[in-house]
């Protein structure tokens, strides 16, 4: 059953050194505030999981939280590269980063399989590509009816699943609207889950009976963090801060400049 706690307490209670932590949000609803609180609390040796690492993982990788990255597309969307991620991969700074690299379809299927309590996902993928050569977790099964060989990946069952959402009611039921990505799957696939929301309301009032709603009993901790997805966006609340995504390209190019920015904005020691 979801408990409402401060962001600090939520992260302290759910994220431990060495955990596999998924922070999802497909462009929309990226849980930046949680990522930055994980940095503040100095978590180490995390396996970070995200389809699109985006700025949030660039920050966490640059601050040395991650030992391993599970991902499918690592860029600054519409801008260019993730410089901190590149520096970790190419130069091992601030520490080496192991890559477990997939396609979008593989990760989406792996979350869905995790949510469904299955040990693996089957899909028609990776045909003729080099990815299975560099990722041993990509395997195959044979269809028992047609003999077709299909790709498999292990299901993703993170220790902690983190998402941002529009709002919760007082019982901790959470509504997600718009580009819903893998938000439901990540919460249901994870051992522990942490959800940040823009606000708490008396009546959840989902617009449709079939709206995407997570019952409070599927969530461990909820923190109310207005603008908790900035610089990404929250449909109905605020728009994407495209200017910041451009700025980040500059901020993150240089190690010192990056560390200065983090120390200034997150209060982390240099």
């Amino acid at each position: 059953m979801a408990v409402f706690v401060s962001l600090r307490d939520a992260v302290a209670a759910t994220v431990r050194d060495g955990d596999a932590v998924a922070l999802e949000g497909f462009t929309h609803l990226i849980p930046f505030a949680v990522g930055q609180e994980i940095i503040r609390q100095g978590r180490r040796d995390l396996t970070l999981i995200r389809m699109t690492p985006d700025l949030i993982f660039d920050q966490m990788i640059g601050m040395g939280c991650a030992a391993r990255l599970v991902f499918s597309w690592g860029g600054n969307p519409g801008v260019g590269s993730l410089h901190r991620m590149r520096d970790a991969v190419l130069n091992g700074w601030p520490r080496p980063l192991e890559l477990i690299e997939h396609s979008h379809a593989a990760i989406a299927n792996a979350y869905a399989a995790g949510a469904a309590g299955l040990p693996f996902a089957v899909f028609r993928g990776y045909i003729g590509t080099d990815l299975p050569r560099v990722n041993a977790s990509i395997r195959q099964v044979e269809c028992p009816y047609t003999g077709e060989r299909l790709a498999t990946v292990p299901s993703l069952r993170p220790d902690v699943g983190v998402i941002h959402a529009q709002r919760a009611d007082r019982a901790g039921n959470v509504l997600i609207e718009g580009i819903v990505g893998c938000q439901k799957e990540v919460v249901l696939a994870s051992t522990r889950s942490l959800v940040t929301v823009e606000e708490v309301v008396d009546e959840l009032a989902p617009p449709s009976m079939n709206s995407v709603v997570l019952p409070g009993w599927t969530i461990d901790a909820i923190s109310v963090v207005p603008r908790g997805a900035w610089p990404s966006y929250v449909h109905g609340y605020y728009q994407r801060d495209n200017a910041f995504y451009l700025e980040w390209d500059e901020i993150s190019r240089d190690r010192d400049q990056f560390q200065n920015w983090m120390s200034q904005h997150l209060g982390t020691s240099k």
Binding site: P77, L90, D130
Partner: protein
Amino acid sequence: MSEYTPTEMMTVSAARALRNDDVCFVGIGAPSAACNLARLTHAPDITLIYESGTIGTRPNVLPLSIGDGELAMTALTTVSVPEMFRYWLQGGRISVGFLGAAQLDRFANINTTVIGDYHHPKVRLPGAGGAPEIATSCGRIFVTMQHTIRGLVEKVDFVTSLGFGPTGRERTELGVATAGPTLVITDLCVLEPEATTSELVVTSLHAGTTPAAIIDATGWPVRFSADLTYTEPPSEAELQVLRELHRRTEEAHRAAV
């Protein structure tokens, strides 16, 4: 006739290849511009799908990211990302998928993963995204990219997504039933796979370029089709719609926040 840039020529050329009844899996950048240009000109009923889950979207301005709010707001409906990849892409419902490429070889295999060795790369690129499954699940694949000698290479350093395979025969041998990259549109020309070998050959030159310039900018001994034509330059109408779209886009993205 207005002046126009090579990128405008590329975008217009890609837009023209789209039909009113196409269902397109759209990527950010040139593909998004091309698909929306088609929608705003000769293909008003074209269906545009972005991998963020937005189906039948009609954005007024081009998205900066694959999951911009504009896409969901103007879509017929927005589904989850697992549903998008399972029911819509893998389900075989997409007629045209767009891909970009950091490297592309003569058999239209694409690399967006690394330059150099995977474990000790010279350049780390963003990675696969949706490309491996887009490349084999869509009816046809259109590739748009800048035409440079570093981009159009003899052999890609890493096969992120399958074209026709290392020798041009593997796509068929692997049992992939979709047509694959039927069209590669660069800022210099259009390349298409030769029927017998699946090797990309130049089939249309954009105005202002020459075979020699294309040979210089291509990393394999590129051949030219016997039926080589010249690409029709962008019309006034096409340029006007495209530029107006870009103007609205820039204005919107400046105004946001």
